[in-house]
Subunit: 357 residues, 2 copies
């Protein structure tokens, strides 16, 4: 079934309000989750709403966070998210980054004591309206084995970079540092399809096509899939995100990152507070006039669009194209929500005593 | 044959001096090239010396650059490299980034009008002694096809991040945004060995094991190798580096980046000046006390070293381990230089009228 974006957003907002969020935070959270659904990242949208609420019920997520800058310089800050929803905390971090960039040319905010922040791209894109480049990263609970290991040590740790253009739409990359996001394994499982070689390994470290590899104690592989194809580079990227998000901020890193799912307890002996994000804003005209830059971005984008396709393959895409196409469609036709998610949402509406979706 | 590091460095220094470099710049250039040879990146060390000199002979490289900050804010700057050797220009950029980070917490320098800067890792590592994190990126002439295309649109555009630890050695990632660096194809060609599937494609865009794929009009593939394994993510990373290095600074980007090799002319109708770099420094204590951070880095590194290896595989490495091992060995046993490179260097010593290596 498909549901209009406005209804989906209103339901998310009502849920956060019922759980004690302020009006402002409920709005911010609903915008971030809706963005995932609109852009086609179904695993990170309303499908996760019940998960956030369950974390709140377990007092692992604070609906009334008192967010606090614990340290700062003209271009940097550390934000303590006070266990708030990452959906809200990361937006506060981007607001700080943008303010700092206004004065100092760039702003960089490391965040601790947070929770999952939804899609990385949404937070990076908040800088675009200010003629700034936005960057966002987050760590996440460990699912990925470093090259040569059987142990899950890193999350799928995404990197997003949003860069404004002039007449062309913005360049928006938003990528997990693995060949495929975890959600794609679950899709294969639902469809009873094998996963491609190179996405995951068994618990002994052998490459596998088993869509239940993770559930059987295996691990996801870093981008590059194997050593010969550069998996050590994917491991580097995931490690970079982990260190910037959590070691700079004072959050948990590596195998200590607490899980999103409420049925798993956080690892014992935490090395920091909650999960971490790293959020940045770069003012374009801290480098060159914004108009000039954006005209060159148009030129860059046009040149790449004109690159000749391989026979029988689609045209070259600009990062963000696919998500924009889906968003345009879903704004008209509505957001598809899987029946299993709808069942959860119906239960949620009873628990929270709000109108069903 | 192997040559002592000091002799290699002295020969490079003498070559730059003979070409008109200042004492300071000749020293900087020799240190950057030597670092590549010591760390095992043979393609980027003294093997490239003749290439730099040839560019100078063609007046495409200026040995007496008047480097100039053309725009700045408290945490950002654009540096015009005045066609200097990237080996030197990027070090100047890192000096500026470090100075800005001292005052503003972070410093970010986009560089235009430069040339190839050697290994990215060397420039990033310059921040380490200041209790800072160093970042460096550069674009390069187009060898890589974006996902779905036959056209070479991006260089192997590397990203380096150097992060200090306490008792452990620093975390130093330095990676091309392709499965393998271009130099590895040449090694396969010399050994008459096939390249693995997933490194390159033919000029029609078919995957290939031909080690001469590039020379036959083919292209390198982005990290991830194919769409199913996330090549669109490698394409995103390479594009990000290109835009930060060149669109922010005003250098050439995408297919307009001038080649390093002197027998190829720069593409017509340039869209900027020379090639571009993006250099950053983040002061650790702009986020949290440096000692605290470095102790957590030690903990991070130890945890990853302890990750259980796959049976029959090596232990998990920390980014930078491999290069450090090679450097330690080569400082003792010397730097291996291929006979074909030595022939070139002999000719160079005659051309420049300096003592042979």
């Amino acid at each position: 079934m498909k549901y209009p974006a406005q209804k989906v957003k209103a339901f998310i907002e009502a849920s956060f309000l019922a759980a004690g969020s302020s009006t402002e935070h409920a709005l911010l959270a609903s915008q971030a989750l809706l963005a995932a659904d609109l852009r086609g990242v179904d695993s990170h949208g309303i499908a996760r709403l019940s998960g956030y609420i369950r974390l709140w019920q377990q007092q692992r997520l604070n609906m009334q966070p008192n967010m606090n800058i614990v340290h700062e310089t003209p271009s940097t800050a550390v934000l303590d998210g006070d266990k708030g929803a990452g959906l809200v905390v990361a937006q506060k971090a981007m607001d700080i980054a943008i303010e700092k960039a206004r004065v100092a040319g760039s702003g960089w905010v490391a965040v601790k004591n947070s929770n999952h922040f939804g899609i990385a791209g949404y937070h990076a894109m908040k800088a675009l309206n200010h003629d700034m480049i936005g960057i966002s990263m987050t760590n996440a609970s460990a699912l990925v084995a470093p090259t040569f290991s059987i142990d899950r040590m890193l999350g799928t740790n995404p990197i997003a970079v949003a860069i404004p253009a002039n007449n062309e739409p913005p360049f928006v990359m938003d990528m997990a540092t693995t060949p495929a996001a975890n959600g794609k394994l679950e899709v294969c499982e639902r469809l009873n399809k094998n996963i491609p070689q190179g996405w995951a390994q068994t618990k002994e470290g052998a490459t596998t096509t088993d869509n239940r590899a993770l559930k059987s104690g295996g691990a996801m592989l870093p981008l590059g899939s194997d050593r010969e194809h550069g998996s050590h580079k994917g491991y580097c990227l995931g490690a970079w995100v982990d260190i910037f998000s959590a070691v700079l901020s004072g959050a948990n890193y590596g195998p200590w990152v607490p899980p999103f799912v409420s049925f798993l307890s956080p690892p014992p002996n935490p090395v920091g507070d909650g999960i971490g994000h790293f959020i940045g804003a770069l003012r374009i005209d801290a480098f060159r006039p914004a108009d000039e830059f954006k005209q060159h971005m148009d030129n860059w984008i046009k040149a790449f669009r004109k690159a000749r396709p391989i026979k029988g393959q689609p045209k070259v895409q600009i990062p963000g194209d696919q998500e924009r196409t889906i968003e345009k469609e879903r704004l008209t036709t509505g957001i598809p929500i899987h029946s299993s998610v709808m069942e959860e949402l119906d239960k949620l509406s009873q628990t929270l005593n709000i109108k069903p979706l």
